[in-house]
């Protein structure tokens, strides 16, 4: 059975052999949205953005995990992946609203975030944006829910951030962000995939074009990794053209390719594949 709900600002598709497991998987995605959406003024994320510069804000384990994961990626990518700078950009571009009592962000980066004893503090007013990793995390939690419920296999796809499990291969089409023409076919087995496209694709949550060093010939980057969270974060790091990108891909057992504006597909770190 394949079902679809509007969640996380996009469409989340869940397919599995076990129907009742799909409800549990959607519930996991809805929980991530409730905790981490910047659009929801009552989310834990919005509470952090409102007060964590004044006092520690206690948050639930999932929110903690995503923030700690984000900080690990910031360390590993020498700041290319940065939920603080992403949040500032999102506010400026109108990708995220500034809620009542939420201060204007100061000049800051990921080092302003402190996590201790289950609570988050900000060294100065900042707006965190978890959009670069929360979708992947939600997909991973949904897959875990399917597994726990006893499903033999399934796929969860949150607007292109996806992961599958089980014995069979799932056919994936990676499309050109400009016109949605399918350019790459993948038979995915027990793995995750994420694709990030540039700002001109009108997806304001992917506002990381402020990052230096990106290859301007690329219109999107696709990463295959073991978890959707890894794939999600790595697309941003690869897109930024970080010199650590190839090493990070290798360390995490991940691979990537880019779709160029001219429609050609090139392996990241490998050779161009003729279109």
């Amino acid at each position: 059975m394949k079902r679809c709900r509007p969640l996380l600002g996009t469409f989340v598709e869940i397919e599995s052999d076990l129907g009742p497991a799909i409800d549990l998987a959607f519930a996991a995605v809805e929980r991530v949205q409730a905790l981490m959406s910047g659009h929801n003024p009552d989310s834990e994320l919005s509470q952090i953005n409102r007060c964590a510069h004044r006092h520690p804000v206690a948050v639930s384990p999932w929110t903690l995990e995503v923030i700690e994961c984000s900080l690990d990626w910031s360390r590993a990518s020498d700041g290319r992946f940065d939920i603080v700078r992403a949040g500032r950009m999102a506010l400026v571009c109108g990708g995220l609203p500034r809620h009542d009592d939420q201060p204007l962000p100061a000049e800051a980066d990921w080092t302003a975030v402190q996590v201790r004893d289950g609570a988050v503090t900000l060294a100065r007013p900042a707006c965190l944006d978890l959009g670069g990793i929360a979708k992947g995390f939600a997909v991973d939690r949904a897959i875990a829910a399917l597994r726990t419920a006893g499903a033999a296999g399934g796929i969860v796809n949150a607007g292109g951030d996806l992961r599958c499990f089980g014995d069979c291969a799932w056919p994936i089409s990676v499309v050109d962000p400009a016109n949605r023409r399918p350019l790459v076919s993948i038979d995915l087995v027990d793995a995750a995939l994420a694709t990030s496209a540039g700002l001109w694709g009108h997806d304001l949550s992917l506002s990381f074009n402020h990052l230096p060093g990106r290859d301007v010939r690329w219109s999107s980057v696709t990463v295959r990794a073991n978890s959707a969270c890894d794939a999600d974060a790595l697309t941003k790091i690869v897109w930024a053209g970080a010199s650590e990108a190839s090493d990070l891909l290798r360390q995490h057992g991940a691979e990537a390719f880019a779709i160029r504006a001219d429609g050609r597909v090139e392996s990241i770190g490998g050779e161009a594949v003729a279109a």
Partner: protein, 181 residues
């Protein structure tokens, strides 16, 4: 191909050269959506709505969008009476035509949303009412050139904003025409 590209392949030429790329997915029928959103209901009573010009204006003012000519609506009923309401609605994005079901509990709060079907085309047909007419009351897929090989997609920026706008319009419709029933 070198080893690093062995995990993916360029899409078959037939797909890449499709004259006007399109795909469609049918997730649920109305009956399936009813059962999923109201698992304890014993039946659904149809109460489809039509609107006077004044009502259309009021809904547009409250939500930013006017309703279509007729609004499919069902009341979910169970052993102890009304369990809630189910709207079936259609929204038009730039290249997408989406049918979805919205379930409300008896107080009008949102209980759930399920997408029924999703159709997409880059050929411009979406904006043509005569092209859309082929889907009214028919099984999907009839007389439509579809890329059936496109299943799980990555790389398209998909926003559910149009569905959120539709839900806002339906909640205004509920408040104006259904809440007092």
């Amino acid at each position: 191909m070198d080893r690093s590209s062995s995990w993916y392949a360029l899409a078959p030429v037939a797909l890449v050269c499709a004259a006007a790329p399109a795909h469609a997915t049918q997730y649920l029928s109305i009956a399936q959506a009813q059962r999923l959103l109201f698992p304890a209901a014993s039946g659904f009573v149809e109460h489809s709505l039509t609107f006077t010009p004044a009502q259309r204006k009021a809904i547009a003012r409250a939500s930013g969008a006017a309703p279509s000519k007729a609004q499919p609506l069902w009341e979910a009923r169970g052993p102890s009476g009304r369990q809630g309401w189910l709207f079936v609605d259609r929204v038009l994005g730039k290249h997408e035509l989406i049918t979805y079901a919205l379930a409300l509990d008896p107080s009008g709060a949102v209980r759930g949303i399920e997408i029924l079907d999703y159709r997409e085309t880059y050929g411009g047909e979406i904006r043509n009412p005569r092209w859309r007419q082929q889907f009214v009351g028919k099984r999907y897929g009839a007389a439509l050139q579809l890329d059936r090989d496109i299943k799980n997609i990555s790389g398209a920026t998909l926003s559910s904003r149009h569905v959120a706008d539709g839900v806002r319009r339906l909640l205004a419709t509920y408040a104006l025409l259904v809440a007092r029933r």
